[in-house]
Subunit: 309 residues, 2 copies
């Protein structure tokens, strides 16, 4: 069996062909350009997918990773912030038909990440496993007893939408306090009252990337801001520990490239606030291992699971 | 089959005999007096349990509800804030031996409540179900696919230990912001700057009970304080919605007797902060239905489940 995986993102469109033990045979990638509309994107999706199928191969199964909200059961994109104008698009059926009516299954891009990291990545064999991606915003998911946990609505878990309050008592989502975007906001605010030298004063754009670059160079304002984000991220993880008691929290996304500049504060906050050491397994926090193709891998694994169920 | 259920609390010691469809045959209750030490409490436990067994009945199974932390697998109380001096007490084995070596299973008192409400109470048939008790502090648990969810450590879920920050940006546990104790604290603090009439100024003790009584009489300070607790409780529930997407949140405990004085703010906070209406099932928030014997019922159900597994 070969599996065609397609990752339809708001920025990038990726496709890859996998063996049934998830070895990549071929891969293709392009820009999505959602502003050109649904028909143009679908045309590009078919082209990219075909580029990922070398001569002599025919996929026997298709897995799709799509922006949400979507109906994973039926493979329908309900609507999408990432794909403006798309409404009730039966993507799994459309792609299945385009590739000789082989079975096709779609899953929310927020859900394929945890599936991939649980089955093939840093969370293998852990229970429960929590997956967090910290980049522009914060996404993630929970795997319990080896299955993606989605709750009554099918939309759990959304760790980025945990409610916390900021230092002034305003209620915020975790992703408004600890994401790359939040790091940029913290820095912009802190810069207003910062009277010491900082690389960020000369920076054309004070965003998460600029703060990260300055932090790596030892800039004191940037380091403080990264530590603040780490503190909020740590509080979010304490909540996850007390509610799910995970065996592993697998964390990916661009912000994790800050390494100990971020994680030192994360760990200190957890140690300070956790209810009891019994909640802390060895090797709790693990860096995601599936890399940039995590959504392709997760889409492939999801399709195999759905086919077999 | 008849089941002897024993609820060993820090204040009260209860016992009841149940039929195998959980109808109560007899019941007994006394004060625990943990300050008299382990031997005295165990003696009183045996006496109370025997009072709950009418002549002609012999229990064929024993279920225990005990303060934590405990090892439910082996039925051992590890140590306990509620029972000072108890350490590694194999209570299930001790009670089993005292009653003719019938099988005995113990479970944390925080976990038997959700079991009872899921199987016999307000959460029947819901998935996932979250149970919250809001009284002196906040406890609770989560039932997923009909099973108590306890995570890797066996100690999940502890909703009262979610981290939030108060209006001044200090990190607090949910139970420090929304429990009966917290209501007393909020009132004591608010009273310092309150320059209008309030019943609480004359009150000998400004605690949760006094605030509740004043709120029911329309006291403006008390109403404001109850609404503040409701706002934090609502934020806690939003977190639970985004993380677990429960079909029902069953809520019990003395604080829920405040009814809409509390729940109006809880509901308003949920409506304001929930990510999408899809997270809100009909009849989400339900009052607990098992009453004061919830721990006895849960201990009995747990014992039957453990015997059958």
């Amino acid at each position: 069996m070969t599996i065609l995986a397609i990752d339809l993102g708001g920025t990038r469109l990726r496709a890859a062909l996998y063996t049934d033990d998830f070895q990549q045979i071929a891969r293709a990638e392009t820009r999505t350009h959602p502003e050109e509309g649904q028909d143009a994107v679908l045309k590009r999706l078919f082209e990219t997918a075909r580029q990922a199928i070398p001569a002599g191969h025919t996929p026997s199964l298709i897995g799709l990773s799509t922006p949400g909200p979507m109906d994973a059961e039926r493979g329908v994109i309900l609507h999408s912030f990432a794909l403006p104008g798309w409404k009730d698009v039966p993507l799994a059926a459309i792609v299945s038909e385009a590739f000789g009516n082989v079975p096709a299954f779609a899953q929310n891009d927020g859900n394929v990440g945890p599936i991939a990291e649980y089955r093939l990545g840093a969370g293998r064999g852990t229970n429960p496993m929590i997956y967090l991606t910290v980049s522009t915003w914060i996404g993630g998911g929970v795997v319990i007893d080896g299955k993606l946990f989605t709750g009554w609505s099918g939309h759990a878990a959304e760790p980025g939408h945990m409610q916390l309050t900021d230092d002034e008592g305003n209620v915020r989502r975790l992703e408004e306090l600890a994401s790359g975007t939040a790091i940029g906001w913290h820095a912009q605010k802190r810069l207003k009252t910062w009277d010491k030298p900082t690389l960020l004063r000369e920076s054309a754009t004070v965003d998460g990337a600029a703060v990260g670059a300055a932090a790596v160079q030892g800039d004191p304002l940037a380091l403080e801001v990264v530590a603040t984000a780490g503190r909020y991220l740590g509080l979010g993880m304490v909540n996850l520990l007390h509610l799910f008691s995970p065996e592993a929290i697998v964390i990916g996304g661009s912000v994790t490239k800050l390494g100990d500049l971020l994680f030192d504060t994360v760990r200190a906050t957890i140690d300070e606030r956790v209810l009891a050491p019994a909640f802390l397994p060895p090797n709790l926090i693990r860096l995601a291992a599936c890399g940039d193709d995590v959504c392709l891998l997760g889409a492939a694994v999801n399709a195999v699971d759905r086919l077999g169920s």
